[in-house]
């Protein structure tokens, strides 16, 4: 298990790691000047624009792409999102939050057979659909689920 995790970390490209940091709020996109920074996708204001930026115009829902998010967020500021792709030759996984001002939160790229399994903490501004997009052999696959962000209180 540890070996696998190390492989993932070693093999994920710089853009993936940095995207994670942006999602966590540690870096602003302008601080990231990697050559392969996908400006069009990350700065899109809607899901359609972000998908276009990723080159994922056409995509299909896949049961082999697992998206694990809470039904109701315990804290909208740090929502745990896990994505696992069982699609052969998965080369990237992106996570989008439909209602966020910039829906594309992170893109992770996998090389050298790294396990396509990512875990991130995302901020949700409000109740929103969360979407995972995996790329494999040039094709795009999606999975999505609604995460509710609520004022809380009053239960029980």
């Amino acid at each position: 298990m540890n070996t696998t995790r190390r492989t993932v970390l070693k093999s994920a490209t710089a853009s993936g790691v940095l995207a994670g940091l942006i999602a966590a709020g540690a870096l602003r996109p302008t601080q990231v000047l990697a050559a392969d920074w996908n400006k069009a996708a990350f700065e899109a204001h809607d899901v359609a624009g972000a998908l276009k930026g990723l080159g994922a115009g056409a995509s299909a829902d896949s049961k082999d792409l697992m998206l694990r998010v809470p039904d109701i967020a315990e804290n909208g500021a740090v929502v745990p999102v896990d994505v696992v792709s069982n699609i052969p030759n998965t080369s990237s996984i992106s996570i989008l939050v439909e209602k966020n001002p910039f829906p594309l939160s992170a893109t992770f790229e996998f090389t050298n057979g790294a396990l396509p399994e990512v875990s991130a903490r995302l901020k949700l501004s409000q109740t929103s659909m969360v979407k995972a997009v995996a790329k494999a052999d040039g094709k795009f696959y999606t999975a999505q689920k609604e995460v509710k962000v609520t004022v809380g209180g009053c239960g029980g």
Binding site: P70, I72, E74, T150, V151, G155
Partner: protein, 572 residues
């Protein structure tokens, strides 16, 4: 039947004839069925006793079941969303009987006088002992919401209930309000008090950092030669419904993937009977039963539904029974399985109401309760006022107890609008009763009791109402939290439970005038989940108001106008 009961019975007959009431069969049945009610023949070889959501009620109380418990979407007209006659009809219970009184609000005041109080740990203990004697090896399961709900539980940080449960012989428990004592206190109780006596189980609580389990997910026992497993499921939305800072290092959620893993694990270890002790709430349990396979029964709580019979849910692996066992110590459920050839062949289930005058108090438990209360007796019994009307809480939109709290906090704080949380615990008082400090605490005893006064724009008021309405009426149970709607004083509104999130609330009015989105209103409330909130404890605010009034007239219960609920069997 004890002589005391006979005397009460005769008094009832006398009262009925003096009042000129038609002498129906009810009082006769009340007396005649006393022993028959609890004479439950043993069935099979695996036995569970289950109570849940007793909310620290050590003494007998009254508890009025709801007259509004709406089901929408696929829950429409299905248990537990049946009230009054609809519930009686669905479960084939004869109207006007002791059982009809236990399960419904019908003719509540008169029936409560006829049949007396319900619950009480000393009476529960007597029944548990009787059942245990008949059913060797039976496990006693407590679904949680046990360490909160009374003055003595609050003042002893749950200790009075922990010791009462040990004395009662609880074998396993899960939790929800327990966590509002703070994660450290819960850990302390588990380590110091429960160790070797009561297993605290929760498959769905992990640490926020590394995702390590906080409690054992399940426990296994051999019962009469059969391996059985009990998996714990704590309330999935504790950090949302209650202040998150109280359990900041733990994460909850429904986690049905992990539930499936646990079921498979205990089956692999040889469990022939798998039971989930759940604090999900019944709607969530019903959905979980369609998704997770291999569970024989989900013994549920949280939503305080007294459901006379289990709902059988079919799923890919066979079927799962889903139950809910009411609240406030009013019921004890008995589930018997006949396990032969490594398989459950058949079952029997009974949700027994605890009528305290039919079950003599267990001397040891009664003595313990007296001892716990003795140092606080004067404070608990302090008389604050007399109520002219019936005071109750339970119901989707409001109850007269919450109306009283709303009236008090709005008047004391000079607010336009009052909000009182949609808690489902809280006992009932009959008309003409004294309201003691203890009764007030039965409605308010929480660890974040601050009363608040905030200025809010009309827009924000709507947002809050919409948000809470979605927690109650989202058509997908996994997005529900299981409380009732926030109680609202001062203003009126219209609610369409079938509408989409964000558009259920309309026609908000204050003193008959439409409210404005950008106008500021003064809103009084209590029980804020915000970590920075402070304020005078609500029981002091309401207590002062009660003492000032001396006699509280019957409250006019403010409820919203409903759209699309005509003919819904979840409303009286």
């Amino acid at each position: 039947m004890s002589s005391m009961n006979r005397r009460e019975f005769l008094q009832m007959l006398a009262a009925a004839s003096v009042a000129g009431a038609a002498l129906d069969s009810r009082p006769l049945l009340a007396a005649g069925n006393a022993d028959a009610l609890y004479d439950l023949p043993k069935f099979g070889n695996v036995h569970f006793m289950h109570f849940t959501d007793c909310h620290a009620q050590l003494l007998p109380i009254w508890f009025r079941e709801p007259s509004v418990n709406l089901g929408i979407g696929t829950a429409l007209g299905q248990a537990p969303h049946l009230v009054g006659e609809h519930l009686l009809k669905a479960f084939n219970i004869k109207p006007g009987t002791r059982e009809a009184h236990a399960f419904t609000y019908l003719d509540f005041v008169q029936a409560a006088k006829t049949y007396g109080k319900v619950g009480g740990f000393a009476h529960l203990a007597t029944l548990v002992k009787r059942l245990r004697a008949q059913r060797p090896g039976a496990l006693l399961l407590d679904g949680g919401d046990t360490w909160q709900g009374s003055a003595t539980a609050l003042w002893s940080k749950g200790q009075d209930m922990v010791d009462a449960c040990k004395l009662l012989g609880v074998d396993m428990m899960s939790g929800h309000w327990e966590f509002t004592l703070g994660d450290k206190r819960v850990q302390e109780i588990v380590v110091k008090d429960l160790k070797g006596r009561i297993e605290f189980l929760a498959q769905n609580i992990k640490t926020t950092d590394f995702g390590d389990p906080v409690f054992p997910p399940y426990a296994m026992r051999e019962m009469n030669g059969v391996q059985v497993a009990v998996i714990g499921q704590a309330f999935p939305y504790t950090p949302i419904a209650n202040p998150r800072y109280m359990m900041a290092d733990w994460t909850f959620g429904i986690q049905d993937e992990n539930m499936q893993k646990m079921v498979d694990e205990v089956r692999a270890k040889g469990a022939k009977v798998v039971v989930v002790l759940s604090h999900n709430g019944m709607d969530v349990d019903l959905k979980m039963a369609t998704r997770v396979t291999g569970i024989d029964a989900i013994l549920g709580g949280h939503t305080h539904d007294g459901v006379p019979q289990p709902v059988t849910v079919k799923n890919a692996g066979g079927q799962t029974l889903v139950t809910n066992a009411g609240s406030n110590g009013k019921f004890l459920a008995v589930l018997d399985f006949d396990v032969r050839g490594g398989k459950v062949q058949d079952f029997r289930y009974k949700l027994l109401p605890i009528f305290s005058n039919l079950l003599p108090a267990d001397a040891e438990m009664a003595g313990y309760i007296d001892k716990v209360r003795a140092p606080h007796k004067a404070k608990l019994e302090e008389k604050l006022a007399v109520t002219e009307g019936l005071l109750y809480r339970r119901g989707n939109f409001n109850g007269s107890w919450d109306q009283l709290i709303l009236d008090a906090i709005m008047e004391v704080k000079g607010a336009d609008i009052g909000f009182s949380p949609g808690f489902r615990w809280g006992t009932t008082l009959l008309p003409g009763s004294a309201i003691t400090f203890e009764h007030l605490m039965d409605q308010t005893a929480i660890t974040y009791p601050y009363s608040t006064l905030n200025e809010m724009k009309g827009e924000r008021v709507k947002e809050i109402l919409e948000d809470i309405a979605d927690n109650l009426y989202n058509p997908d149970p996994y997005y529900q939290q299981g409380g009732d709607m926030v109680r609202v004083g001062g203003m009126n509104y219209t609610c369409d439970p079938n509408a989409k999130a964000g558009s259920r609330i309309s026609d908000m009015r204050l003193h008959d005038k439409p409210m404005a989105a950008d106008k500021t209103y003064k809103v009084a409330g209590w029980a804020p989940v915000d970590p920075s909130a402070t304020g005078e404890p609500v029981w002091d605010v309401v207590g002062r108001w009660l003492k000032d009034k001396k006699t509280v007239s019957t409250r006019k219960v403010n409820v919203p106008k409903l759209i699309g609920m005509k003919g819904n069997p979840g409303i009286a």
